[in-house]
């Protein structure tokens, strides 16, 4: 019987980043588990409030958790931000009895924090195992130098998230290696892309995301892999300026890890949502002979 894992898509994956979501589901099926979307869910709020007194802001994620608990004892997410918000909220509810009471009061529930919040990468690493993942690979991404962009929310703060070492994480690289790609280490992989400043401070975002991109490219990356729709957005958008400013810079595809996952385990190339990317991955795939076609 295939393992069923309760899954929280979140608002972005349900809209702009649909490709992220669909590929994850399909890949799961191919590897041997099923992402079962929660019957009842709402937006998590997309920010974990940094001020401890702001409990109201925790009610949205708490509601997600409380509902999810009714469907099982784990919940999986794909988006780094959802993951961060849900995992930290869950910790607050679990560890702080007083706050738990208040939050439950807001949302009229009795949730106790007993859910375990997992990122899809964690499911691959801990429940499936990268060795098994490797066996499922039908279309190895041989020769692709892929940079793994963690950003902030997947790693910090370590005490609350703890998915991997916050300064020298490897989970992403190990996944890419399992898929046959060559992971590229680069210093900015854990530095911020500029996040929500995209709304009103594009200068800063272009600078930060630009740093990430150049640092990756300088280290030989031909592809950037990420797990956050906002990172994906910022990294793509900021390249326009790089193209203008850096002679010879032509734009690098920025994709979700689930897209390359789907690619590697042999999903139909047309279902992976690559057409949505501003800088297409296709030439690279052709060049490396992973997908037949013109360079």
């Amino acid at each position: 019987m295939t393992m069923k894992i309760p899954y929280y898509p979140g608002c972005t994956l349900n809209t702009v980043a649909k490709g992220f979501d669909a590929t994850a589901r399909e890949a799961a099926l191919k590897i041997g588990f099923e992402m079962e979307e929660l019957k009842l869910w709402n937006c998590c709020g997309a920010t974990f409030p940094l001020t401890p007194d702001n409990l109201i802001a925790l009610s949205a994620p708490a509601k997600v958790l409380s509902n999810a608990r009714k469907e099982g004892d784990t919940v999986t997410t794909l988006c780094s931000v959802c993951y961060n918000v849900l995992k930290r909220t869950n910790k607050v509810i679990k560890d702080d009895k007083e706050k738990r009471g208040v939050i439950n009061g807001f949302i009229d529930s009795e949730y106790d924090g007993s859910l375990s919040v997992l990122h899809y990468l964690e499911v691959l690493r801990d429940k499936i195992g990268f060795a098994r993942l490797k066996e499922a690979v039908k279309r190895p991404l041989k020769g692709i130098k892929a940079a793994t962009y963690y950003g902030c929310m997947l790693l910090r703060p370590f005490e609350d998230i703890g998915i991997d070492d916050a300064e020298k994480p490897t989970i992403f690289e190990n996944m890419l290696s399992a898929l046959g790609a060559t992971p590229v280490d680069f210093p900015n992989k854990i530095e911020c892309c500029g996040a929500h400043l995209a709304m009103n401070n594009t200068d800063v975002v272009e600078k930060l995301s630009g740093n990430v991109m150049t640092s990756a490219v300088d280290n030989g990356a031909e592809l950037i892999v990420t797990s956050c729709p906002l990172c994906q957005y910022n990294l793509e958008k900021s390249q326009k300026r790089l193209i203008e400013e850096r002679p010879g810079y032509t734009g690098v595809p920025v994709v979700y890890f689930t897209q390359v996952l789907g690619l590697a385990i042999g999903a139909d190339i047309n279902t992976l949502g690559f057409e949505k990317n501003e800088y297409s991955i296709m030439p690279l795939l052709h060049r490396k002979g992973i997908v037949a076609g013109e360079d």
Binding site: V16, G45, T51, P157, M199
Partner: protein, 135 residues
């Protein structure tokens, strides 16, 4: 700049409010500068994170409120992750934002947000941005 100091400044009610909202104690910061060293937007801040902390230690809330630092912080938590004292400047900056926003003063008007962004950006960016900038 010349600062005149008195106990009333250092322990003013404004500082106490910031401490309460942020959950951080200003005097825990020993001014090592590691947060400023690693903050990705330090370059764009009028007061880098460690100076925000220092001004608040001195009770100079107004200087900090005037500076763009709180609106420039991206909440990446790098300051907190590396602070040897376990201080979260991120929380302090968020507290400052909250103090402004809770008064009902928006930092960003929705109609000023560029349309292409609203159209193409991921939902979470919009939600998050509103949370940080709008009351």
């Amino acid at each position: 700049m010349k600062i005149k100091l008195a106990k009333e400044d250092i322990e003013s009610s404004k500082i106490q409010l910031i401490e309460r909202v942020s959950g951080e104690e200003m005097r825990r910061c020993y001014q090592c500068g590691k947060c400023s060293a690693g903050c990705p937007v330090s370059f764009a801040m009028e007061l880098p994170p460690s100076q925000v902390m220092r001004f608040l230690q001195l009770g100079r809330v107004d200087e900090v409120m005037k500076a763009n630092s709180m609106w420039t912080c991206v909440g990446c938590l790098q300051c907190y992750a590396r602070c040897p004292q376990g201080v979260s400047v991120a929380a302090v900056l968020e507290a400052l934002r909250q103090i402004v926003l809770r008064k009902g003063t928006d930092h960003e008007r929705i109609k000023d947000v560029p349309f292409p962004f609203m159209k193409s950006a991921p939902q979470q960016a919009i939600v998050c941005g509103f949370r940080k900038f709008v009351s």
